[in-house]
């Protein structure tokens, strides 16, 4: 599962609230789509849990459903309090997991 963290803005100070977006490549199959070649239903397969951590503490948790778009983008916010790692862990309903991290460094 390929995933990417995007943080906006690029430059920020302590106390600022930044936007944290998780992007992932995932089919997010609902289980109701038919494979064009075989005519069979493609089984349900979607990212269902996402956990956002900052300096080891969870700041947002998400329960994601199969109704979210393919190749999902999930955006939450974080109040900056010092230099540290943002770590996002995701899991889909087949047991596949992924983890991405990004170091953030406030200026001032």
């Amino acid at each position: 599962m390929k995933a990417m963290i995007k943080v906006k803005p690029d430059k920020f100070k302590n106390g600022d609230v930044i936007k944290v977006s998780l992007m992932a490549m995932h089919p997010m199959e609902t289980g109701s789509r038919k494979d064009k070649k075989t005519g069979e239903l493609v089984p349900m397969n979607y990212i269902k849990d996402v956990k956002f951590e900052y300096k080891g503490a969870v700041f947002t948790q998400m329960s994601v459903w199969e109704t979210v778009s393919t190749n999902p983008v999930l955006t939450t916010y974080l109040k900056v309090d010092g230099e540290g790692d943002i770590k996002i862990t995701l899991a889909d309903d087949t047991g596949k997991t992924a983890e991405v991290s990004k170091q953030i460094k406030p200026k001032g």
Partner: protein
């Protein structure tokens, strides 16, 4: 000429207007979709393309192959399709990359491969911020390619006797066809060539300009022209020249 395509198009439009409700998206709605560009799922495809080029030596090696400095790479990329002497024909970025891979002793990615899609998209994105500077007067090859491309664009063919020009001409810009406004492909309008390759929301995947041409041909019941063929490359030359001067901004995000 004007009257002829006007009559054909009005028949096509009349049937589509009767068939579906015509929704007009508000400016506020359009602004919401423009915001999506900030986190375009294609960003991950571009990142993959960067890795693929990296395994071939990255921008440094590519610049060397093109006999350029790395600084000159973006502007040069913004000038494709180009005639390349060492290849002997007018080529798009992906065909250039095939030649690059050959010189590195690698089996070139097929034009239809995932790898080529990702890598050529990344390479085209190096030109972001540059103005499209394709030069159709550069040499006889480019002149011929432009003329051929124009001919392909304007030739009526297929079951409905449609040409690209029927729907992509200044007189019908913004007319709603199948719920979508017809774009102005020129630099002063939508400058379509500057935003392909693009992530298509309805397909959840990235498509190149030539692939989009094929999709369009399918819909208009025209025989599809093969990717990388002389005619398809010529069509890309013509289409890109229409957007000359526009700022490159890839990957795009489209319906």
């Amino acid at each position: 000429m004007k009257r002829v395509y006007g009559v054909v198009l009005s028949l096509v439009l009349a049937s589509s207007l009767m068939a579906s409700e015509q929704f007009a998206m508000s400016d506020a709605d359009r602004a919401l979709y423009e915001e999506l560009l900030e986190n375009n799922p294609a960003d991950m495809i571009i990142a993959n393309g960067e890795e693929l080029l990296g395994s071939l030596g990255g921008e440094g090696e590519l610049a060397k192959f093109l006999a350029l400095s790395e600084d000159d790479l973006p502007k040069y990329i913004a000038g494709f399709p180009r005639y390349m002497k060492n290849i002997g024909s007018v080529v798009s970025i992906d065909q250039m990359l095939q030649a690059f891979m050959s010189t590195k002793g690698e089996k070139p990615y097929k034009l239809t491969s995932r790898e080529m899609l990702d890598m050529s998209s990344y390479v085209k994105s190096l030109a972001n911020g540059e103005e499209i500077n394709i030069d159709i007067e550069a040499n006889e090859h480019m002149k011929k390619a432009f003329a051929l491309g124009k001919e392909v664009f304007e030739t009526r063919r297929g079951k409905r006797g449609l040409s690209c020009l029927n729907c992509h001409n200044p007189d019908v810009v913004n007319t709603i066809l199948r719920t979508q406004p017809l774009p102005d492909i020129s630099a002063k309008g939508n400058a379509s060539a500057a935003t392909w390759p693009a992530y298509r929301m309805t397909m959840s995947n990235m498509f190149t300009l030539q692939e989009r041409f094929q999709g369009c041909m399918n819909n208009a019941l025209l025989a599809v022209i093969p990717l990388g063929s002389k005619e398809m490359t010529a069509l890309e030359v013509y289409f890109t020249h229409e957007a000359k001067g526009a700022t490159m901004a890839v990957p795009g995000l489209k319906r």
